[in-house]
């Protein structure tokens, strides 16, 4: 029986057949191309159109970029070097580099000061952005604004020092009294700060700025990309606390405070930034005491801060509204009072929800700093449209300059939005 079976079967496999490779169009590049670019007729047509668009873009820009001239003193010289070829005249960037960065009036021997301030800013911002860094670095962040002010504006070191001492006094008073009663600590801190500033202001001798270690630079001499950076950083950091206060005020159960905040927020959000800048340039001076002269930079900072604070307030309000009621009730049932509940329970969670929105506002604000060129401040765009394009040497070098401006804004804004996405992933506590 067994023999019969073995004989009647012609072949019995006694091992595995080796695996054959998958069909050529189901692996590697070919499969990827088929799946992603040529899966059907429509897709193939779209792919070909896209390839053509990419080709057109590269064909028109690449030779221009690669032929770029980096060393020349005027457009005419550039054209001589190019001798009829298509090519960019990047020489305008190298020749006017300092003007693009610092404006045309900032003293040339002081360029190192904004540079140092910029590097220190990176150090000061790092512990705020990355939680893993040692917390002690936050002390430097607290000192940084005064240091940067001294570096950029120069003059006597006493002025920022007095301001700093005022804040230290306020923090000390708040630490001492704020533990028992928030209100006493808060108002005491404000009183302490003002007392220090008044006394300190009187102590600074007249003309202290004249032969100070760093020569004084008036605000109107600031310009270039430095001005965009300064406006952006200052206004974002000032508008964040103001925005939190406005958001809490809008949530408040006290009708008067609620309506003040609502009217402020809706008013500011309803008008374009340009009109607020007009207010800063032509109208705000009427509201200051007659003998005082508040410089344009400060007026612009006030208006931009108000503008972005209103937007940040709305973002944070969204975060507050997204918190479940249970969080508020849990804080109440623990016996926390309002400031404690907000500081320890509500705001940390609400801020976490609001991070993407706040970053969007920050990016928008940084882009909007270019608007100051409309009220004749010479920021990067103002420098390009004003002194540089109007000069006889560089009249007509549009693309290199505008491309440079676009590039520097893109790098910063794209970087910030990438950071916010990283932060969102980092802070995510839910499971997916």
């Amino acid at each position: 029986m067994a023999d019969q079976t073995t004989n009647s079967i012609a072949f019995v496999a006694d091992g595995n057949i080796p695996e054959s490779p998958p069909p050529a169009n189901e692996t590697g590049v070919v499969k990827w191309l088929r799946d992603n670019l040529f899966s059907n007729v429509t897709n193939s047509v779209l792919t070909i159109i896209s390839l053509y668009v990419v080709y057109l873009l590269l064909a028109s820009t690449m030779p221009w970029m690669l032929n770029g001239v980096w060393n020349a003193s005027s457009l005419a010289e550039c054209r001589e070097i190019l001798a009829g070829k298509s090519g960019a005249c990047f020489a305008v960037l190298t020749e006017r580099w300092h003007q693009l960065l610092y404006g045309f009036k900032y003293p040339a021997d002081a360029y190192w000061r904004p540079n140092v301030a910029f590097v220190l800013m990176l150090v000061a911002i790092a512990p705020v952005l990355f939680f893993d860094l040692p917390r002690k670095l936050l002390l430097f962040t607290a000192v940084y604004p005064f240091l940067a002010f001294w570096l950029i504006w120069g003059g006597t070191i006493l002025a920022p020092l007095v301001a700093l001492v005022g804040f230290v006094a306020a923090a000390y008073v708040f630490q001492t009294f704020g533990r028992s009663s928030f209100a006493v600590g808060f108002f005491g801190a404000i009183a302490a700060a003002f007392a220090v500033w008044l006394i300190g202001g009187a102590l600074i001798p007249e003309g202290a700025s004249e032969n100070a270690m760093l020569s004084a630079v008036p605000s109107r001499d600031l310009g270039g990309y430095m001005l965009n950076m300064m406006l952006g950083v200052t206004c974002v950091s000032l508008s964040l606390p103001l925005g939190i206060v406005l958001a809490l005020g809008r949530q408040s159960s006290m009708p008067l405070i609620k309506w003040i905040c609502v009217i402020f927020i809706e008013f500011v959000r309803g008008v374009p930034l340009i009109t607020l800048l007009f207010v800063a340039s032509v109208m705000l001076a009427y509201f200051f005491p007659p003998e005082s002269t508040v410089d344009l930079f400060l007026r612009v900072v006030i208006m931009i801060t108000m503008f972005s604070a209103a937007y940040i307030a709305e973002v944070i309000r969204g975060g507050l509204a997204a918190l479940p009621r249970g969080q508020y009730e849990a804080a109440d049932s623990l016996g926390l009072d309002y400031p404690q509940a907000m500081r320890l329970i509500i705001l940390p969670q609400a801020m976490k929800i609001s991070i993407p929105g706040i970053v969007n506002v920050a990016v928008g604000l940084f882009k909007d700093t270019t608007l100051v060129s409309v009220i004749s401040m010479f920021d990067l765009v103002g420098m390009i449209r004003g002194p540089i394009l109007a000069s006889t040497e560089w009249n007509g070098v549009y693309w290199e300059l505008l491309g440079f401006a676009a590039l520097v804004f893109f790098v910063v804004c794209y970087g910030i939005s990438q950071y916010s996405q990283w932060l969102e992933r980092r802070l995510a506590t839910d499971h997916h």
Partner: protein, 410 residues
């Protein structure tokens, strides 16, 4: 036994103003009111003193004075002898014009880019991602200037169209792209029903509204028929007829003809001239805001869970109906609110017109009028009033829409 929340019987003490929750909110509001009043008094007092020192007063009578400047791009009659108020009106209309045009094109760009970004074609979706990132991360002012530069520095002058060996020619012999603006053919009526062109266009508009109304009735009739018999009558041809036949008849009666721009002397004459500043502003606002709208559209479509599509497919709906009846109505609920706030942004960003010399309200009232009359406070206040009105109107529309599409919960 009394509950713990009963107020203590002791009399009123001053510290209760801060420590007792019954009085505390009142105390804070009184403090806030006093601080607010002090601020207003301080600012107002400064204002009065400054105005007195400068010999000024607050008065709006300058609005009636002749403006004394010309405006190229205008929708209503205006010349340099017209009043400042008239100039402001020209500005308002120009603002609304560019905002309206930019809203339409930005929506088109945004929807196309947003849908294509979800395409399963790798190259297309990456290209759209690049578009979105590049345009979102560069200030709109720079885009406006870039496009304005293209319009003025790259486009050929009218001179280039002249002669036998002209370096430029009109596109299709109908459109002329010059550095002074784009010239397009203008439709007009040879035998209009009314003397004024405006009234004739109103007739056309009325005809279209009537077509829209009738076509809506046809849809209702088809719905009824479907509910009664289960069969949906074919309405496509009927609807096409309702839309096009009256329109065509109207055009024939009124004798539609086109005025094509032509080179006369040193410049193009005839047709509609769309100035470079308008195009720069329009196009820049469109591509910039389009990038934001693309992200909203993408988020809206992605917010609809795949289960919805699959459930609809399980019910036997065709691909097109799944989109129309299931996905889009839900996605629109997510897309529309941010879309309308983008429209709001377009309206506000159109104030950047002043950077390229487009005569919108900011450039007329807030620019030339302000500089000529020196009436800074009045001009800026009027300017803000206009934008506030526009913004509040748009957000009111948004709120009405939001409440109409809100999920109806028990």
């Amino acid at each position: 036994m009394s509950t713990l929340t009963d107020p203590p019987n002791a009399g009123f003490r001053l510290s209760m103003l801060f420590n007792d929750t019954r009085y505390r909110s009142l105390t804070f509001q009184v403090i806030a009111a006093i601080v607010l009043a002090l601020c207003i008094w301080y600012l107002g007092n400064n204002l009065i003193q400054n105005l007195r020192a400068a010999g000024l007063n607050i008065s709006y009578s300058f609005l009636g004075d002749p403006a004394g400047y010309d405006i190229n791009q205008r929708l209503v009659e205006y010349d340099s002898q017209s009043s400042h108020a008239r100039a402001a009106l020209v500005g308002v209309l120009n603002t609304l014009l560019v905002a309206f045009l930019a809203c339409i094109t930005a929506t088109v760009f945004g929807v196309v880019a947003g849908v294509l970004r979800l395409s399963n074609n790798w190259l297309v979706s990456k290209l759209m991602a690049v578009y979105v990132e590049i345009f979102r991360n560069i200030p709109v002012l720079i885009w406006i200037i870039i496009i304005f530069t293209i319009m003025t520095a790259v486009m050929p002058g009218p001179r280039a169209f002249r002669g036998d060996n002209a370096t430029s020619s009109m596109v299709l012999d109908l459109f002329a792209f010059t550095n002074r603006g784009v010239y397009v053919p203008m439709p007009w009526f040879e035998s209009g029903l009314f003397a004024s062109a405006f009234m004739n266009w109103m007739v056309v508009l009325a005809g279209l509204v009537a077509s829209w109304f009738v076509s809506g009735r046809v849809t209702n009739w088809a719905n009824h028929k479907q509910e009664e018999t289960g069969e949906r009558p074919k309405t496509l041809l009927i609807k096409l007829a309702i839309w096009f036949v009256p329109f065509a008849v109207l055009m024939l009666i009124m004798g539609l003809s086109w005025e094509v721009p032509a080179l006369k002397g040193f410049n193009f004459k005839g047709g509609i001239k769309i100035g470079g500043p308008l195009i720069a502003l329009w196009f820049a606002l469109s591509i910039y805001t389009g990038a934001f709208i693309a992200e909203n559209v993408r988020a809206g479509i992605q917010a609809i869970s795949k289960g919805q599509t699959e459930a609809a497919a399980a019910l036997g709906l065709r691909q097109g109906r799944i989109m129309n009846l299931v996905v889009l109505p839900q996605a629109l609920r997510v897309i529309i609110p941010p879309l309308i706030s983008q429209y709001l942004n377009i309206t506000k960003n159109s104030s950047l017109a002043i950077a390229v010399g487009y005569a919108d309200i900011t450039a007329t009232l807030g620019g030339i009028t302000l500089n000529q009359t020196g009436r800074a406070i009045e001009c800026v206040l009027l300017l803000m009033l206009f934008y506030l009105t526009a913004s509040l109107t748009i957000s009111m529309v948004m709120n009405i829409y939001n409440s109409s599409v809100k999920l109806k919960e028990r």
